[in-house]
Amino acid sequence: VTELAQRRFREFARGSLADGHMQAALDLSTARLRSHRLEAWHALPDAQGLRQRAHDARMRVIDDLDAHVAQFREALEARGGKTFFARTAEEASAYVVEVCREADAKLVAKSKSMVSEEIALNHALEAAGIRPVETDLGEYIMQLAGGHPAHIIAPAIEKTSEDISELLSAVEGEHVPPQLEPLAQAARRQLRQVFLDADVGVTGANFGVSETGSICLVTNEGNGRLVSALPRVHVALMGMERLVASLADLAVLLQLLARSATGQRLSSYTTLLTGPRRPGEQDGPEELHVVILDNGRSGLVGGRYREMLACIRCGACLNVCPVYRKAGGGAYGPVYSGPMGAVLLPLLVGLEQAPVHPHASSLCGSCTEACPVKIPLHELLLELRRDLVEQAVAPWPERAAFTLWSLAWSSPLGYRLSTALARLGQPLAGALGPGRTWARGRRLPRLGRRFRDR
């Protein structure tokens, strides 16, 4: 598995590097998102103080997660909503399929949800004969392309306007020019009927509020509102860690989420939904279901990786990551990518299944610096690398090499002898192992007379 995962990341990265269009799109978009974020941050009077408050607000919930989940469920159920706690991805998608069946649904309109990717919901719906349509523009493009989101907030980040024109023209039956406005108009036409015809709307949830049982949706296209208000049944998918204690804490996080994601002070639409439509109200669904997903998260509470649960999925770490901007989102797998994905995936699926992720980083620390809720992402990667070694997932030749090296270098004498030996073996350095890999694109450095021997 280790070798396979290693090859997969590298092969995908090679493909990304060879694709000039994709490199240009990644470079442009990540740089733009980054500079917008920095502008928005610098405009804040006390950005570091706000980060700390956001971190504290998140950790208060994480450190008492079961109680918050219980409080959220109780509050929402008191407002007439239904909740379902899914221990696994399969339980979650099976529940949504069941809700759709009971609603006799043929068409499901979806707004953006990374949890829906995590539980492979579209696949489950299609298998049950139900058609899911993504209504977030980026997600819609990726669905037409038959792919997965390449970025957690900008799913189609790797696509150029020419790529998008091709995809939308195929649906339209005529050529859509590759400019922003005609492309947006075409997507709007294509999606409008979906909102009206959908039997069930599926959304994510950027936050849930424990004290009120509300869910908060943060979108820019307004599709989240249509999907949650027009269909008869609304299903919201939420990771169990996405709770905040109070509306006051929500306000702290909302100040950071849009700024960190796109550099906006607030996104175009920030929607707070508390229960389904009540008697006398004109809008809203008859039924509201909130699916609360565990899928490995509860195992992180109280442990060395608990801070990863504070993640608010803003994508700031992706936009500054020098590895992400070269390798592309798909290298990390179909769901989460960049630094947050490199930390989260091994925690959710186990290191054996994702042994390459902790090493998909040069440990440059840009992610940690960018994170609005102060998750020490690169230090968590370092912890995961430690676990790879201590759980013997790292390949044995690597472990043997480091052990031998450390034994030799545990004394000045061993150091002098081993480096003298290495100098003798220098002509072979480019012929085998890491030296060979190094020498394929770089000159090997030369071992000469040591400084200490001068």
């Binding site: 290693q6 990341f9 990265a13 090679r14 590097l17 740089a31 500054v320 020098p322 590895v323 070269k326 390798a327 902790p358 090493h359 998909a360 980083s361 040069s362 440990l363 440059c364 620390g365 840009s366 940690t368 610096e369 370092l382 995961l384 690398r385 430690r386 676990d387 790879l388 070694v389 201590e390 690597e398 472990r399 480091f402 052990t403 090296w405 450390s406 034994l407 270098w409 545990s410 004394s411 000045p412 150091y415 480096t419 890491p434 890999t437 190094w438 394929r440 694109g441 770089r442 000159r443 090997l444 450095p445 030369r446 071992l447 000469g448 007379r449 040591r450 400084f451 200490r452 001068r454």
Partner: protein, 226 residues
């Protein structure tokens, strides 16, 4: 002031000239430089790959070789980070007074010779030095004091792609990152860095591509970039 010079393994083995230059700069600044002969390595290569037991074994040599009584100065941003931030917890010892060379010279250095008059120089921030030690201005100030005209890199925040074993685990991405860095410095006479890891990687790549000289900061200051 009496200072202890930590050559680092890469400095001792691959860039001895840079260590000689670092020593000369410290002496020229009026300092008494001691080279503790028992020094080996801070353990960073193993530590950053997750091999804690191996890292601890090697890091203990640092504790034996150096004294916490006087400053330890090293011509390496990442080794300074390891020795200052991670090593004490790893081996369970009292912290050392560790200084990255340019930060030390900027605070305690003397006159610098004008070795880079008329030279256009790009400075590459090593990640650990920039983000963990927060040292960005000192090396730039020193280069300017040596007469160099600084050419800004388009994205000074971006890593050069070395990252220890990352350079051979993900060689394609690593090389692409180096190419961006070298490309950004194309208008300069030389690219200068204060980290032997970045130096080894960038100079190795440059040798196969643009031939842009990549120079250690100590050498740039003591002898000029070209």
């Amino acid at each position: 002031m009496r200072v202890q010079l930590f050559a680092t393994c890469l400095g001792d083995l691959l860039f001895p000239d840079a260590v000689v230059d670092a020593e000369a700069l410290l002496r020229a600044g009026g300092h008494e430089v001691e080279f503790p002969r028992a020094q080996v390595c801070c353990g960073q290569p193993a530590f950053n790959s997750g091999h804690r037991a191996a890292a601890r074994r090697v890091a203990r040599t640092f504790v034996k070789a150096f004294s916490p009584e006087s400053p330890v100065v090293t011509p390496s941003g990442s080794c300074a980070t390891m020795a200052a931030h991670y090593l004490p917890e790893l081996v369970g010892c009292e912290p050392f007074d560790v200084w990255e060379l340019s930060a030390f010279l900027d605070t305690h250095g003397g006159e610098l010779p004008a070795r880079n008059e008329g030279r256009r120089v790009a400075y590459h921030d090593s990640c650990h030095m920039l983000r963990e030690l927060g040292i960005a201005d000192a090396p730039r100030r020193l280069l300017e004091r040596s007469g160099a005209e600084l050419v800004p890199l388009p994205r000074p925040d971006l890593c050069c792609g070395f990252g220890g074993t990352f350079s051979v685990r993900q060689p394609e991405v690593s090389l692409a990152m180096a190419d961006d860095k070298l490309g950004g410095a194309a208008g300069a006479d030389a690219l200068v860095t204060a980290d032997p890891g970045c130096l080894m990687h960038l100079r190795g790549r440059s040798g196969r591509t643009t031939e842009l000289p990549v120079v250690h900061l100590a050498t740039a200051l003591a002898r000029g970039v070209a």
